[in-house]
C-alpha cells in the first residue's frame, strides 16, 4: 500500500512576521521558510506506518513554485521514498484548488491513505483535507492524535481531538487523515538520510498534465495587523482606579 503525504512550504514558525507595506499579504522575501509543522507530523506518521510494515512506500507531494523542491528534499531527508512537485504559481493557490490537484494526483498514484496536516500555519484554513475527502468521496478522520491501522480489515482507528475531548472513529481505507499536534514528534533529518535523499527522484507535474483548473472564487482584499495593545498604566490610588474604570473604560 502506498501512502501519500501532502506538504506545504510556509514561513518558519519561529519567524516574527510583518505585513507588506501594500497590505496584500505577509512579507516573505528574505524570510526563512520551512515545512509546515503539521505536515512534518503527517510525514512522520506516514514513515512510522511504513516502518511498522503496513505500507510499502511513502510519497511526498507539494505544489507551488520551484522553491517547493527544497521542502520536498527535507521530506526525502526525513525518509520519504519519492516526491512529486506540481508546478503552480505562488499566489492564488487556495484550499479548493489544492484539493483538486490532490484528487488528480490520487488518481495517478492510487495510494491507500492520504495524510495531510490539519492546517497550514500561514493561512490557518483547515479546509484542504476535508475538501479532498469530499472530492474523492473517501472517509475522513481529521485532527488525528492517534492512528492505529488494521491491515486485514483495511481500516484505521483514529482518535480525534475535538472541542469536547477525544473522539474515536473507525474509517475504511482508502481514507484521508489530517494530523494534529499531539500525534507524534517528527524525527530529525540525519546525515545518512540527507545523503540518500540526493538520489531519490522528484517527479515534476504541470497543471495542464493533471487537467486541473485552479481559478478561484476567492480574492484577498487586504491584510492588516491586529490593533496594537496600548500600554498599561500604574494608578496611584483606588479612587483613581475607580474613576478610570468608570469614566474611561466604562465597565462600571
Amino acid at each position: 500500500m502506498k501512502i501519500m503525504v501532502a506538504i506545504k512550504r510556509v514561513v518558519d514558525y519561529a519567524v516574527k512576521i510583518r505585513v507588506k507595506a501594500d497590505k496584500t499579504g505577509v512579507e516573505t522575501n528574505n524570510v526563512k521558510m520551512s515545512m509546515n509543522p503539521f505536515c512534518e507530523i503527517a510525514l512522520e506518521e506516514a514513515l512510522r506506518i511504513r516502518e511498522a510494515g503496513f505500507a510499502s512506500e511513502v510519497v511526498a507531494v507539494s505544489m507551488g513554485p520551484a522553491q517547493c523542491v527544497d521542502t520536498l528534499r527535507t521530506g526525502l531527508a526525513m525518509g520519504a521514498d519519492r516526491a512529486i512537485h506540481v508546478d503552480a504559481p505562488a499566489a492564488g493557490l487556495y484550499p479548493l484548488s489544492v484539493a483538486k490537484i490532490l484528487r488528480a494526483l490520487v488518481d495517478v498514484e492510487k495510494p491507500g491513505i492520504l495524510i495531510l496536516g490539519k492546517q497550514a500555519i500561514d493561512d490557518d484554513c483547515n479546509q484542504t483535507g476535508q475538501m479532498v475527502a469530499g472530492l474523492l468521496n473517501w472517509p475522513q478522520a481529521t485532527f488525528a492524535s492517534k492512528v492505529v491501522l488494521d491491515k486485514e480489515k483495511q481500516l484505521a482507528t483514529v482518535d480525534r481531538e475535538v472541542d469536547g475531548g477525544l473522539e474515536t472513529l473507525c474509517v475504511d481505507l482508502p481514507a484521508v487523515i489530517t494530523t494534529d499536534l499531539r500525534l507524534n514528534q517528527p524525527r530529525y533529518a540525519t546525515l545518512p538520510n540527507i545523503m540518500k535523499a540526493k538520489s531519490k527522484p522528484i517527479k515534476k507535474f504541470k497543471l495542464e498534465d493533471l487537467k486541473v483548473d485552479i481559478k478561484s472564487d476567492l480574492e484577498i482584499v487586504e491584510v492588516t495587523e491586529p490593533p496594537k495593545r496600548k500600554a498599561g498604566i500604574i494608578v496611584s490610588s483606588v479612587d483613581e482606579l475607580i474613576d478610570k474604570l468608570k469614566n474611561e473604560a466604562h465597565v462600571i
Binding site: A14, V15, N30, S34
Partner: protein, 578 residues
C-alpha cells in the same frame, strides 16, 4: 545532635561578643568549635578580633564554610544565630566554600558600616523607592546564581542615571563604604555578590537604549540593558549582538563588558575588546570617565576602555556602552554531529575552519556525560541522534547571506567528513525550532549540572590538542566518586570542566584543586578563560600571570581606587591590594 552543640557554642560566643572588652582572646571554646566541625558541618565565628583566630585556623587547616547554605537547614529558625541581634560592629570570618583549603578572608576593618545618615543621604540622591533595605529583596541579590556565595549586604541602591552613580560613589568613597556593582547577577565566580556587607549598586534601572545607527550598526545603550532585550531590539533592524550566551535572559550588557564575556559566537565575531567601541565609566571617587566614542578607529592616546573591559567592576562602574553590532544574516544552519573520539573533534574543527571558512559562526562540543545529564534533568529535550550513544557531540553553526549556497557548503563539508570517518552520525536542523532545540541541549548543560546536585566548575583555556586530556585525568583521579563532564567552546580552545557530585565534599575538592590549576599552568593555559576571577579565583592569578604583571595590575588598582572600595576581595589577591 548538632543543634545542641550549636546552641552551646553560639551561646558562649554571644556571651563573649556582648562583652565590652573586645580584645579578649577568642574563646577557649574554640577547641570545641574545631571538634564539632566536620566536612559537612559548619561553624560561624563571631568576635571583633579576627586576627586571633587566624593562626588557630591555619594550624587546623580546615574549612569554615560561610553562614548561609548549610545554615539554612538547621539554623534559620534558631533565634540566637539571627544576625539581627548583633548590632554595631560585627567582624565575621568568611571562608570560601570550596576553593583552596587555607584561604580565609577577613572583612577589611578600614571599611565603614552603614548608618542612618548614609541611608538618608542615599534617599536624597535616589529617592526612597530606589534605596532597598528589605530582607527578602536583599536575600536574592546577596546570593549568586550558583548559590555558592552569599553576602550580607544590608543595602541595595538602584541608580537611574550616570549622575546618580557618580554621586553615590563619591559619597561612598568619602565615607569609605565598600560597594559591589551588580548587573544581572549571573556570574559564575562570585564576583557579583557582596562578600560581607558591601553596598550593592544594581544597574538594572539604567536600561535605556540611547541611540542606534542603522547604517554602521553602532549601538549606544546604558549598562543595565538585558542582553536578550538588546538582541530583540536589534532584530527588528536586521542586526544582532556580537555575543550570545546561555544567560542572555538575565545578564546585562554592563556586566558582560565588565567580565569580557565570551559566549557562543566568539569564534566568528571576536571578543568584546574588539567589538566595544566606547565606554562610559564612573571611577571610585565619582569621576565620570567619558570614553563613549562611536568610531571604529581612534588612535588618540592610550586606549583606556580596555582596562575596564574585563576588570570585573574593580576599576570603575561601567554606565554606558557603545558596541558595534554585525548585520543579521538570513541563512543560519545548524548541525548536531557525533564523533567517536576527541581527536576527530579536533580534526573536524580544522576542517570546518578551512572548508566552511567565513560562514562558520559557532563550534561547540560536549561529551557523552554532558548529554546524559541534559537528557536526564531538563524537560522537553530529546536526543537528536537516538540511534546510539556516542562519545562526543559537536554543534556547528554557519551564518551567511545565501541560503542555498550555505546549505550546499555545509552538506558537502559534512558528507566529506562522514566519508573521512570524522563524523559517525549527525542531524541538520530543518527549521528554526529544531535549531533552538539543538542549542537548548548545549546551553542547558550548566542548568542540568545545577539540578544534578553539587557542581565544581572550572573554565580553562588550553591548547586544543590537550583539552580533553585534563578531563580524562580528572576521571582517573576521582574515580566513581564524582562525574566529570567536559564541554565548551572548542572553536576558541575553551574547556568548561565541571565535576558533578551528589553533594559538596572537601575530599573531592582536595582531589581537584590545586591539581587543575597546576595542570593548566603547566600547559600555559588560562585558569579562567571567560568567567573571570571574581571571588573564587582571586588568589589564583599567579597560575596564569607573571608576578611583574600582577604587580602592575595592583598599582593600577591603587591608582584608580585608592580606598579599595570597588568590589573588594576579588579579582586580585587580597593580600596584595590591601
Amino acid at each position: 545532635m548538632k543543634m545542641e552543640k550549636w546552641r552551646a557554642i553560639t551561646y558562649t560566643l554571644l556571651q563573649h561578643s556582648l562583652k565590652k572588652n573586645f580584645h579578649h582572646p577568642i574563646n577557649p571554646n574554640f577547641r570545641s568549635l574545631t571538634r564539632s566541625s566536620s566536612t559537612s558541618g559548619h561553624t560561624y565565628a563571631f568576635g571583633r578580633t579576627c586576627e586571633r583566630l587566624k593562626p588557630t585556623l591555619a594550624h587546623k587547616k580546615w574549612n569554615i564554610q560561610p553562614c548561609v547554605h548549610p545554615l539554612k537547614n538547621c539554623m534559620s529558625h534558631h533565634p540566637l544565630v539571627s544576625a539581627k541581634i548583633f548590632s554595631g560592629n560585627i567582624c565575621r570570618i568568611q571562608c570560601r566554600y570550596f576553593a583552596s583549603l587555607t584561604t580565609k578572608i577577613q572583612r577589611n576593618p578600614l571599611f565603614s558600616t552603614i548608618n542612618s545618615d548614609d541611608i538618608s543621604h542615599f534617599e536624597k540622591i535616589l529617592g526612597e523607592k530606589n534605596v532597598i533595605q528589605e530582607e527578602e529583596k536583599l536575600d536574592t541579590v546577596n546570593t549568586d546564581w550558583m548559590r555558592k556565595y552569599k553576602g550580607s549586604s544590608k543595602l541595595m541602591l538602584q541608580p537611574r542615571s550616570t549622575e546618580e552613580v557618580s554621586q553615590i560613589l563619591k559619597y561612598c568613597n568619602s565615607r569609605c563604604l565598600a560597594v559591589v556593582p551588580q548587573g544581572g547577577n549571573t556570574g559564575l565566580v562570585g564576583g557579583s555578590v557582596p562578600v560581607f556587607d558591601e553596598v550593592i549598586i544594581n544597574t538594572g534601572s539604567m536600561n535605556s537604549i540611547i541611540s542606534f545607527d542603522k547604517v554602521s550598526g553602532i549601538l549606544v545603550c546604558e549598562a543595565g540593558c538585558i542582553l536578550e532585550n538588546l538582541i530583540s531590539f536589534l532584530d527588528s533592524w536586521g542586526f544582532i549582538m556580537p555575543l550570545d550566551l546561555g544567560a542572555k535572559g538575565s545578564c546585562q550588557i554592563g556586566g558582560n563588558v565588565s567580565t569580557n564575556a565570551g559566549g557562543l559566537r566568539l569564534v566568528r565575531y571576536g571578543s568584546l575588546h574588539g567589538t566595544v567601541l566606547g565606554l562610559e565609566a564612573v571611577l571610585a571617587n565619582g569621576t565620570v570617565l567619558d570614553m563613549l566614542g562611536t568610531l571604529r578607529k581612534d588612535n588618540t592616546g592610550y586606549d583606556l576602555k580596555h582596562l575596564f573591559i574585563g576588570s570585573e567592576g574593580s576599576l570603575g562602574i561601567i554606565s554606558k556602552v557603545s558596541i558595534l553590532t554585525p548585520p543579521k544574516l538570513s541563512s543560519v544552519n545548524l548541525a548536531f554531529l557525533a564523533c567517536k573520539d576527541y581527536f576527530s573533534c579536533q580534526k573536524l574543527l580544522m576542517e570546518a575552519k578551512r572548508r566552511l571558512g567565513e560562514i562558520l559562526s559557532a563550534f561547540e562540543f560536549l561529551d557523552s556525560h554532558a548529554l546524559d545529564l541534559v537528557l536526564k534533568h531538563l524537560d522537553g529535550v530529546r536526543n537528536p541522534l537516538p540511534a546510539s550513544m556516542h562519545n562526543f557531540y559537536v554543534l556547528i553553526e554557519t551564518t551567511g547571506s545565501d541560503e542555498s549556497s550555505d546549505k550546499q557548503k555545509l552538506e558537502a563539508f559534512l558528507l566529506h567528513s562522514m566519508e573521512g570517518g570524522l563524523i559517525s552520525d549527525g542531524a541538520i536542523a530543518q527549521d528554526i525550532s529544531q535549531a533552538s532545540s539543538f542549542w537548548h541541549i548545549r546551553e542547558g548543560v550548566a542548568e542540568a549540572l545545577m539540578k544534578a546536585g553539587a557542581v565544581y566548575k572550572y573554565d580553562l583555556s588550553l591548547p586544543v590538542e590537550k583539552m580533553y586530556d585534563l578531563v580524562e585525568e580528572m576521571r582517573i583521579r576521582l574515580g566513581s566518586v564524582a562525574d566529570v563532564v567536559g564541554f565548551g567552546h572548542l572553536g576558541d580552545g575553551n574547556l568548561h570542566l565541571n565535576i558533578s557530585a551528589p553533594q559538596y565534599d572537601d575530599a573531592i575538592l582536595a582531589q581537584i584543586e590545586p591539581f587543575v590549576y597546576e595542570w593548566t599552568s603547566k600547559h600555559h593555559g588560562s585558569i579562567s578563560a571567560e568567567h573571570g576571577l571574581g571571588l573564587m579565583k582571586a588568589d589564583k592569578i599567579h597560575y596564569s600571570k607573571s608576578t611583574e604583571a600582577v604587580q602592575l595590575m595592583t598599582s593600577i588598582k591603587k591608582l584608580l581606587d585608592p580606598n579599595g572600595i570597588l568590589n573588594p576581595y576579588k579579582v586580585l589577591p587580597p593580600s596584595l591590594v590591601s
